[in-house]
Amino acid sequence: MKQISIKIRDIIWPAVAAMLLVSFADSAHGNSDIERGFEIAARSDRTDVGFGDSQVELTMVLRNAAGQESSRSLKITTLEKPDESVGDKSLVVFDTPRDIEGTALLSHAKILDPDDQWLYLPALKRVKRISSANKSGPFVGSEFAFEDFTAIELNKFDYTYVREEQCGKFICDVVERTPRYENSGYTKQVSWVDQTDYQLRKVEFYDRRGDLLKVLELTDYRNYDGVWRAHKLSMSNVQTNKQTDLIYGDYTFNTGLAANDFVKGRLSRLR
């Protein structure tokens, strides 16, 4: 008996010590916080399920630190891929500035693999496959990076619940998310998701050094038969004091678009 009890003790104590260590580590990033963070993000993401496809025209207003403005107008068409393990397909076509009128960017988003992207250059009528390694570069000179547009898939991030707090008229869950894909310019993002409509209200972006780089505020939410869309996105770079606003017109959903409208050959047939 004695020998057996010693053996049991030898097994039990290291196990207890290991469990203690794990729960210590958990108190910082508890399993429950990770699950809760993911649940909040997933609940928000799933308010979007079933939109099918959407079209929207928007104005991008770029403002430098001195307050000088310039603008671009563009149209974004999106085809939903309901499966969360597959990314959406999107097409961005520029209307102004006039010298880039007709320039188009086609993206087939992936979850963790690099996206497939093609650029259409109207001056040469050339379709060009481009590298999508440039996640963190500025999108057409704006404060939005390429990844800010394309990395909106649920499974592109790991999530951790942080806290609950007032955000404007809502109570928000604050969730930290870290990119799982390569070449991100961010070490982490902190997102505010309201507890009423489960929509994203604000995101803070932290750069590769871990410093706060940009703050995104999403406002003017409108409900299209259950699908919410923000109609104003303001991205402020707190390090350079530059700002980019995206001001959206009305969305149209389920316009009957199909995969054939998002193939590379279509780029040269748009106009």
Partner: protein, 398 residues
Amino acid sequence: MKRTVFVSLLAALLSLSPARGGEVDISANLEAQVRAFWQTPAWVGQDDAALQPSIISTTEIRWYNDSGNQRAAFIPYLRWDTTDTERNLVDLKEAYWAFEGNDYEVLVGANTVFWGVTESVHLVDIVNQTDLAGDIDGEDKLGQPMVSLTLQRDWGEITAFVLPYFRERTFAGTDGGFRPPIPVDADNALYESSSKQRHVDFALRYSHYLGDIDIGLSAFSGTSREPRLTPSTDGTALLPVYDQVEQFGVDLQYTKDAWLWKLEAIVRDGATGSITAAVGGFEYTMYQVAESSADVGLLLEYQYDGRSELEPLTIADNDVFIATRLAFNDVQDTAVLAGLSYDTETDESFLNIEAERRFGDNWFGELRVRAFSGAEPGDTTYFLDKDDYVQLSIARYF
């Protein structure tokens, strides 16, 4: 044939008045361009003006029907050069009507299409004639009358072209730079086919992608876009000779991380024999260099062309092209491409720098510097030796 195409096109355009519904989008740009030369011209008759201005206007009228399955484009292009009348041009870059079904498209009229992946030379791109008087880089094209049918399938896109009318290449005139000692008389071209410009050409293009690989296969049968040059009987001019050719092309691009690996190859058979040519290389981009917003790209391509001396001249025969592309990613889209092509056999080189940016919302400026060096008498680029120039253009968009 040309008349039939344009009559049906006109009928199509007339039926597209806004009153019938749909949406019309009109835009235009006006460009003032000046070329500055600093060397004395090499050949008798060339204008020695140091500054050679020209004006270029492009108008784009586009129509889309309400349901979005029909569209039309009408894009006249006008160029007026103060020095070389052969550089004057009235062209329809596009003048077509297109109908799009769920997985097919029919297009009737003049259009421009681009095939290929490489940067230094465009071997497989054969549908449109080159407007060589417009720009010696061969990237300016003339609208090509066509009827095309495109099928989109899961296994790729396939397009068949019927090209009922041939466009002759533009060449600099007697007064202009960039010409051989004896000027080219582009108006008195010779043809292998007795149908001359009315010879009906055919082309076929397959394009798809598989993961990181984009592939294009193409075939062409008809009048070569690239003429041979032969002396006229009185010896005062060179006449373009357009042979009948068959060309097969392949273009491949492998896109991995910040690397684009590219290859284009052609085989062309015609009256003067067979040509095999290829160009391949890479473009590697370093993003946000030195914590700035700017990207720096490095391009390296090798050009091979095994053509005989009977064939049209090419400067891209055994050349290495090395270049850098700077994209500042600023609000004005400032970008610079600087490249050097070097002939490994003859030591000829061609330097090309292109810099561009937007000013305000509606102005666009571009600077180009081009210089030739190392050519000995008898080398391909020897006749361009005194044609180094700087070109500044300012365009206003409406």
